[in-house]
């Protein structure tokens, strides 16, 4: 059970949140996109091993969307930040000693 720092409510249990996949996948002028680019927007996400900026919504709390750095291997939680604000730097590349469970 992840412990997720909601920027508005503080840290809460994962069950209060819904996941929104990779952050920063912008919805743009759809007509300017080729079919391939549009299909990529719809279906292709980075899905890296390691740190990923993700979207989460505090569904059972304040109802607000925010972004969060999370390590997909160790499940470490990095900084959370609001949409349309400057993205904090990635907490780093996962190394053998990188785990801080």
């Amino acid at each position: 059970m992840l412990y997720i720092p909601c920027p508005h409510c503080g840290p809460r249990n994962e069950t209060e949140f819904h996941y929104g996949a990779e952050a920063g996948v912008a919805y743009s002028d759809t007509n300017a996109l080729t079919d391939t680019e549009w299909a990529k927007y719809l279906h292709i996400r980075a899905n890296p091993k390691g740190w990923l900026a993700e979207r989460w919504v505090h569904f059972a709390g304040c109802g607000r969307w925010f972004n969060l750095w999370r390590n997909t291997i160790t499940h470490e939680i990095g900084p959370a930040y609001l949409p349309f604000t400057t993205q904090p730097k990635s907490p780093g590349i996962i190394g053998k000693e990188g785990s801080n469970l």
Partner: protein, 899 residues
């Protein structure tokens, strides 16, 4: 301590209140507790706690819980249990005991209340932290309890500290991300028949801790030799504890087999308790230390480089003779004994650490896998961290060389009855990963999850390849690696996880303000999400079919009324509300005049229909959106997601008002006439109040909003009213409706009526893979504006032929209602070689229509709109129903009746 009596296998036993059932049974001389699951061999008590593989019992008092080790059951007056041969049975009757759960946030959680755990707790308390200390034993002390000793006085003060919460009988079952622990606390079984009825039997703790100290201790492990499973063969620490602490006096002659100095300490305890210790057989070539010296002084014979090879049973099947091998001379000799106490080394409890992916590290010095972890969040202590605290110097030894005959009686997993022979066969079959061997042999998959057998398996795999030791080449346990453990660490009753969320409390029930009226009217309810909705209103003696036909007829020919309060309702306000709705819906809403309603369809970005409903413009910057009953929450979430994450510049505010506004649908050709008796302050004529318009009015001085919306195709009015006033309006309508034979109808009739008109229900006639075009609703797709999903309609695969499209279906036999979900095939379609027939679609909605006087259906069929009048087959088992594809609108294609 007081003497109590309890029953086991219908025999009465005496015990000391609170002592382990295993101790009481042993003291009574019960060596053989049960027969093994698969081989039917007699088995006795082996261990001290949850690692016990043999002595599983079923409670026949209280909760009837099964598969509990007799080693952890505390005897109490009234306790009754019976033996199991490894397989328990669930009780037939519903569980009556209470279970509950609680959450706890603490600075420090210490798991394990032995010396190491207490020491850690004391440190954290000194730093001013709040500490939760949990332990699965009935009291503090860990191993000290087994030695019959108290905690040192300094640590006893810890128990009284105001910042300490100590929970005994509380087992951490899982360690999860970010220091989250689930633990189960057993609260009443140990009280027996004196347990208060209101006390929860088990409490599930959900604990989030800033820091965790894992000090779970270790299990002693057995060794692999022939016939190592006989009653009378026990772990030495367990045997010594039962004898020295619990007064078990049934053993007269003991043999100790050891790989470390623990065997000597246990030999001494047995010796001091009056048991004749025949000899200590030590696999090592020599040993030193206090315990070895003490054993020599006590006159206990010690023989090095010797290992137990085999055992011989008496007629009762319990231990009689131990066969020992002189390793260097390769000779064997025998000693009679009724207790063979094994000290095969310690296995620290790595389970919790591995739950979050920490890899245990093999230490040859300890002959054990250890977890030495120390971060600011989590650290290990005590034996898990390698602090064995004794002069041990163990040998890496798991058992002597055995021939095939011996190996077939040399047990690794006592619960699964898996032997060294089984393991050799697995390795012989080419399996070399411990995880594969586990699955092939089932070792470690039983109730105890390999607590004693896991390390033996690793050891046996090493032995097959030669154990690497003291510079000797071969395989080390480090090369084999440990099994991965998953939660829960011990079995957890489902009842405990369910807690109080059972029966009517298992899920919230949502009811409308008219619910009690429906109940009194005899409605049969159906669940729609969490809502309870009237399904139909049978009159006395009426079948569902009869009731639905009557309700349908009333709606089509007279006047009928339905509670539509469960419709999702979202209040949308703000200067950009119209623009926002244009982007959300496939059709235009910004141009909708005030006081008018429009049906809208919304798609996901991939172009697939997601929800629908009627939205009314209440003011320049104010809309009221309705959604499907089940879709309200996800639609609101969808609106918020776009507003917050893509269009924060839009000034729009969405509020759920589902439970603020109740909706009553008054339907039928006589509905206007009836409503005129109730609503006198507005003109209800079709000229003054056209279809898809909405008007404010008053009923008995109460403000209402009436809309001419129809989900049946008939003349209909939706009365929206404050939730709290709905019952009044409904009752007024009901009284006035008497001369009109006003009929209440439920969701089944609603479904028939809407299907006759070809109105889709999102989620029934769609499954998330239909575009508006697939639903034959191209009319609702605006070409003038952008909206979510529009771009996808240009994708080649959505424009290609072969897409499933919504059509009507008329079975040739008009009395035959096709089952919903049935597949549709071409006439004459034949099964392929695999016996499968390819289908072209499936039935989504299917009813009997009183209006049409026949059965009809809606279906999704590949290129269905091109197949009008085509006859298709619907195979139902061996039978084939023939049906004709038709337009999805079955009645009133001209939309005359709604006015």
């Amino acid at each position: 301590m007081s003497e109590i009596s309890f029953s086991f296998d219908d025999k009465d036993y005496k015990g000391q209140h609170g002592e382990p059932m295993a101790a009481a049974l042993l003291r009574s001389g019960l060596l053989s507790i049960t027969n093994s699951t698969y081989h039917g061999r007699p088995r006795g008590i082996v261990g001290l706690g949850v690692e016990e593989p043999n002595a599983l019992v079923q409670l026949v008092s209280g909760t009837m819980e099964s598969m509990l080790p007799a080693t952890i059951i505390e005897v109490a007056e009234g306790l009754a249990a019976r033996s199991l041969t490894g397989i328990g049975a669930l009780p037939r009757d519903p569980e009556e005991a209470r279970y509950d759960k609680t959450n706890r946030y603490v600075d420090t959680l210490v798991i394990g209340a032995g010396l190491a755990g207490f020491t850690a707790a004391a440190e954290h308390l000194r730093e001013g932290r709040e500490v939760l200390l949990i332990d699965d034993q009935p009291g503090p002390g860990g191993h000290l309890r087994h030695l019959g000793q108290e905690l040192p006085a300094a640590l006893q003060d810890v128990l009284a500290h105001e910042n300490l919460t100590y929970l005994c009988r509380c087992t951490a079952t899982g360690l999860y991300d970010q220091n989250y622990v689930v633990a189960i606390e057993r609260r009443s079984d140990h009280l027996g028949s004196s347990a208060p009825a209101t006390r929860s039997r088990i409490r599930v703790w959900h604990i989030r801790a800033e820091q965790i100290v894992l000090a779970p201790g270790a299990f002693q492990r057995p060794l692999i030799f022939a016939n190592n499973d006989r009653p009378g063969i026990m772990l030495s620490h367990a045997a010594a504890t039962y004898v020295a602490v619990h007064g078990v006096r049934i053993f007269t002659r003991a043999v100790i087999m050891t790989i470390d100095n623990q065997g000597y300490r246990d030999a001494l305890r047995l010796h001091h308790a009056g048991v004749q210790v025949e000899a200590i057989y030590d696999v090592r070539s020599g040993a030193g230390g206090d315990s070895v010296d003490a054993a020599r002084e006590a006159g206990i014979p010690i023989r090095f480089r010797a290992a137990v090879l085999d055992t011989i049973a008496n007629v009762a099947g319990t231990l009689q003779t131990v066969v020992i091998q002189d390793i260097d001379r390769n000779e064997t000799f025998q000693t009679d004994a009724d207790l063979l106490a094994i000290s095969g080394g310690w296995t620290p409890i790595v389970d919790l650490a591995t739950h979050i992916g920490i890899k245990p590290i093999w230490s040859a010095e300890h002959a054990a896998f250890l977890v030495s972890h120390a971060t600011d969040k989590l650290r290990t202590a005590g034996m898990l961290a390698g602090d064995f605290g004794a002069d041990d110097d163990p040998s890496v030894f798991f058992g002597p060389e055995l021939n095939p005959e011996q190996a077939s009686h040399a047990y690794i997993d006592l619960q699964r009855d898996t032997t060294l022979h089984d393991l050799r066969r697995a390795v012989g079959a080419g399996l070399n990963s411990i995880e594969h061997i586990k699955r092939y042999t089932t070792i470690g998959t039983a109730h105890d999850q390999g607590k004693t057998s896991g390390m033996l398996t690793i050891g046996a795999i090493c032995q097959l390849n030669g154990v690497a030791q003291d510079g000797k080449p071969g395989l080390s346990p480090a090369d084999v690696g440990t099994l991965s453990f998953r939660p829960p660490y011990v079995p957890v009753p489902f009842a405990a996880l369910a807690g109080r969320e059972r029966g009517p409390l298992s899920d919230p029930i949502r009811i409308t303000p008219l619910h009690q009226w429906h109940v009194e009217a005899g409605a049969v309810f159906e669940g729609v999400g969490q809502w309870k909705r009237p399904w139909y209103f049978p009159k006395p003696g009426e079948s569902m079919d009869e009731a639905v036909r009557r309700e349908c007829a009333a709606a089509r020919q007279g006047a009928a009324v339905m509670d539509a309060s469960t419709l999702g309702k979202i209040d949308i306000k703000g200067p950009d509300a119209g623009i926002f709705l244009d982007r959300i819906y496939t059709n235009i809403f910004s141009t909708l005049p005030e006081g008018q309603c429009r049906y809208g369809l919304m798609c996901k970005a991939d172009g697939m229909v997601f929800d629908d409903g009627v939205t009314t413009r209440l003011g320049k910057n104010h809309f009221l959106m309705t959604t499907t009953t089940g879709g309200a929450a996800r639609v609101l979430a969808w609106l918020e997601e776009w507003l917050q994450t893509e269009w924060p510049g839009l000034k729009v505010y969405c509020t759920s008002v589902t439970e603020h506004i109740s909706t009553i649908a008054l339907v039928g050709p006589k509905s206007r006439q009836l409503l005129r008796e109730l609503v006198t302050d507005i003109d209800l004529s079709k000229e003054a109040f056209p279809f898809m318009h909405s008007r404010s009015a008053t009923i008995d001085g109460l403000p209402v909003r009436i809309a001419r919306i129809s989900f049946s195709g008939e003349l209909a009015f939706e009365i929206n009213i404050d939730w709290g006033h709905a019952l009044h309006i409904w009752k007024r309508l009901w009284t006035l409706g008497h001369p009109y034979n006003l009929t209440a109808y439920g969701t089944e009739t609603m479904h028939v009526l809407r299907a006759e008109k070809g109105y889709v229900i999102i989620g029934q006639d769609t499954d998330g893979t239909q575009t508006p075009y697939d639903l034959n609703m191209s009319w609702i797709v605006s070409r003038k504006k952008e909206f979510i999903g529009k771009r996808s309609f240009q994708l080649p695969y959505l424009k290609a032929t072969g897409r499933q499209q919504l059509v009507g279906l008329l079975p040739e036999n008009g009395e035959e209602v096709i089952p919903e979900g049935a597949y549709i095939t071409l006439i004459g379609a034949q099964p392929n070689e695999q016996g499968k027939t390819s289908h072209i679609g499936f039935v989504t909605s299917s009813y009997y229509s009183p209006e049409l006087g026949r059965a009809f259906a809606l279906a999704l069929v590949a290129d269905g709109l091109e197949r009008m009048r085509e006859v298709v087959a619907v195979p139902i088992g061996k039978k084939i129903i023939r049906a004709t594809i038709c337009d999805a609108v079955f009645i009133d294609k001209e939309n005359i009746r709604r006015d």
